[in-house]
């Protein structure tokens, strides 16, 4: 009977093309509008490291005391800074109190390609420790991360992004090759697969949805080379002059992540942080009781307001619009069903039970939903295309439809059409067959 009902649905929809088109447009436009905003929202609020995010934490230390500078979160009301000083970052690294930890910052250097056909360019660099890669489960195409020994030795080694490797080495395995960064030779130890977490959770100070670095090098090496941070740099007081002055200052510019696999590890690290802050006070660095915090990845995204209230409101508005569209579709379907009361009565008289009529109408709603889904998908794609032209280049990565989004569109459209069709379908099932005889 399923094929029969599909055939009936198509005939019925062709009977009144204008009404059918209106229903499909109502659902398609509603789906298109809501899915465009939902896609952006999902990309913004998604878990960039599913399965691992609950084990990743950012330690925070109030190194500025009662007289604050920038870096506060208005949304959370927290007074804690969102980065660390070099002093704190290096001491936390030395303490090695977590399973894995990495201080890091974004910087850059001129890269002189060996291939003379290529012009020198500035390569964005992420200075980090070796733990960065296993901690964030960064996938490697070739080679492996540098070692802890390389960190300790301030080694001139690098890991390249796939994109840069494609550019410099035409995609070949470049492990063991060298690259020239600002006149110094660095040995390539690894090449990453495509890795662009959305949002760029490990450094939200600059562009939250920006692209990652093309070159990764040991933090210790970057400090040796006196590479300054490219991202946010906030100070309570002006630092002393020179790079050494920056390193000695209370300016915050270093991101810091730790991996704590168990709740016990988390509790221990919290205690460690508090003890560390107390120690800083005892040593005379702070004259206040420094507050500390340890936020996991999802808390960190909220702390940094990765998804703004405006986006949440936009999603709400667009789904309200979908609701209005569904009400319209429901009204149209009801009109269509009522216009077919006679046919329904005849079918009932000829032996169709209520569930047969219900199924027939439900399948008709589903056919409308499927076509509405197709239209909604096209409109969503167009909506995202439009948004890409409005968003910055780095944020345009948000406006992409993945397979899950397509699945959501189809499910939402089908669900919406069936929902909109439920009342008309129920009304269809209530048509009394006796009416057919008595109305003549």
């Amino acid at each position: 009977m399923f094929g029969y009902y599909i055939g009936l649905a198509i005939r019925s929809l062709r009977r009144n093309v204008v009404l059918t088109v209106l229903m499909i447009v109502a659902i398609g436009v509603g789906i298109g509008a809501s899915m465009t905003t939902l896609t952006i929202f999902r990309a913004m609020s998604g878990d960039p490291l599913p399965g691992k995010s609950a084990q990743l934490f950012v330690p925070q230390i109030d190194n500025w005391g009662p007289r604050k500078g920038g870096g506060q979160s208005a949304a959370t009301g927290s007074k804690l800074q969102n980065q660390l000083t070099y002093i704190d970052a290096s001491r936390l690294m030395e303490a090695h109190a977590a399973k894995r930890q990495s201080a890091m910052y974004g910087t850059g250097l001129p890269l002189i390609p060996a291939n003379r056909d290529l012009q020198p360019f500035t390569a964005p660099i992420r200075a980090s420790y070796a733990d960065f890669f296993p901690m964030f489960e960064v996938p490697f195409l070739y080679g492996a991360p540098w070692s802890a020994a390389d960190d300790a030795a301030h080694a001139a080694v690098v890991v390249l992004s796939r994109k840069l490797n494609d550019k410099l080495f035409a995609g070949a395995n470049s492990v063991g090759q060298s690259v020239n960064l600002d006149g110094q030779t660095y040995r390539v130890v690894g090449v990453l697969k495509d890795w662009e977490p959305i949002p760029k959770f490990y450094d939200l100070t600059d562009e939250k949805f920006g692209k990652g670095a093309d070159v990764f090098m040991p933090f210790t090496r970057a400090i040796d080379q006196q590479l300054r941070g490219w991202g946010s740099f906030n100070c309570k007081d002006p630092p002393d002059s020179g790079y050494a002055g920056t390193l000695r200052s209370e300016c915050i510019w270093i991101q810091f992540w730790v991996e704590l696999p168990t709740p016990a590890d988390v509790a221990r690290y919290r205690l460690f942080l508090q003890n560390y802050a107390s120690e800083q006070r005892r040593s005379g660095r702070f004259d206040w009781t420094a507050e500390t915090a340890l936020r996991d990845l999802s808390q960190w995204l909220r702390f940094n307001e990765v998804v703004s209230d405006e986006v949440r409101i936009l999603v709400l508005v667009s789904f309200s619009f979908l609701f209005v569209c569904l009400l319209n579709a429901m009204g149209l379907m009801l009109a269509k069903v009522m216009a077919r009361a006679q046919e329904i009565g005849v079918r009932r008289a000829l032996g169709a039970n209520r569930s047969a009529i219900f199924t027939q109408c439900l399948i008709e709603s589903s056919v409308i939903g499927l076509v509405g889904a197709a239209l909604g998908l096209v409109l969503t794609a167009l909506g995202l295309l439009g948004l890409r032209t409005l968003l910055s280049q780095s944020a345009s990565a948000l406006a992409n439809l993945d397979l899950l989004d397509v699945g959501i569109v189809i499910a939402l459209a089908l669900g919406s059409a069936i929902l909109a069709g439920l009342y008309p379908t129920w009304r269809a099932g209530q048509v009394q067959p006796a009416w057919q005889l008595k109305s003549q």
Partner: protein, 236 residues
């Protein structure tokens, strides 16, 4: 075949109870051709809708082909209706989107026959009413008489035990009406049990027996001069 005993049908509102049928008894035997007549509002159509299991009754008993239909649920009534009853409506009630073949197919679909069986029955029914050459035509392409023949083919396709006809010639001109009546008489001669509601005395007289209803009650059972010979089944 169809036996109603002291059957009643009341429509109730908060303050009024109106009886459409009251203490209504009728017995239609297999192979009979019965005309049900009466003035407007007498309860003829209510009788037909109850007989066709399209409406429930308030009191009394109703046995259809030996089955007590009281208390049957919607599924059971639908199945019984599909298997035992063929409807012929005044306004034909063909589905305009479906061609002749697909219209006749409708009750067979709900019966659950396979494709080959449905095709066989449809072709047989259309041949029976002389419209096998029109199976791909749509209702709008047919005359009123032809549409009613399609409706009769649809009613016959499931081999029902009882044909219920509601003013089957009411929407037809004289010539077409004659053709449809001749077809019904032919079906009766072949053994079909037919109950026909009509207000036309000329049609009623062509039935084997006339049942007259006034104010929801059978007031007279008139033995009619037989124009149509009773079938062998009826005689039995």
């Amino acid at each position: 075949m169809l036996q109603m005993t002291h059957l009643s049908k009341a429509y109730r509102t908060e303050v009024v109870e109106t009886y459409a049928l009251r203490d209504f008894s009728i017995h239609v035997r297999p192979g009979e051709f019965v005309a049900v007549t009466g003035p407007s509002g007498s309860g003829k159509t209510t009788f037909l809708t109850i007989a066709g299991l399209l409406e429930e009754f308030t009191g009394g008993e109703y046995h259809l082909d030996g089955a007590d239909v009281r208390g049957l649920n919607d599924n059971q009534r639908s199945r019984l209706r599909n298997e035992k009853i063929g409807f012929i409506f005044q306004a034909f009630n063909l589905i305009p989107d479906l061609n002749v073949f697909d219209n006749v197919d409708v009750p067979l679909r709900y019966r659950g026959f396979n494709g080959a069986e449905r095709r066989r029955r449809i072709q047989k029914s259309l041949e029976r009413v002389g419209l096998s050459a029109r199976s791909r035509h749509y209702p709008a392409e047919l005359s009123g008489g032809q549409q009613q023949r399609v409706a009769i083919a649809r009613a016959l396709a499931g081999d029902p035990r009882l044909l219920l006809a509601d003013e089957p010639t009411g929407n037809l001109d004289t010539q077409m009406a004659r053709g449809v009546m001749e077809l019904l008489e032919e079906l009766h001669r072949d053994g079909a049990t037919i109950v026909m509601v009509t207000h036309d005395p000329e049609l009623a007289i062509r039935a084997q027996r006339e049942v007259h209803i006034v104010d929801g009650q059978v007031v007279d059972l008139v033995a009619q001069p037989r124009i149509v010979r009773p079938s062998s089944q009826a005689q039995a």
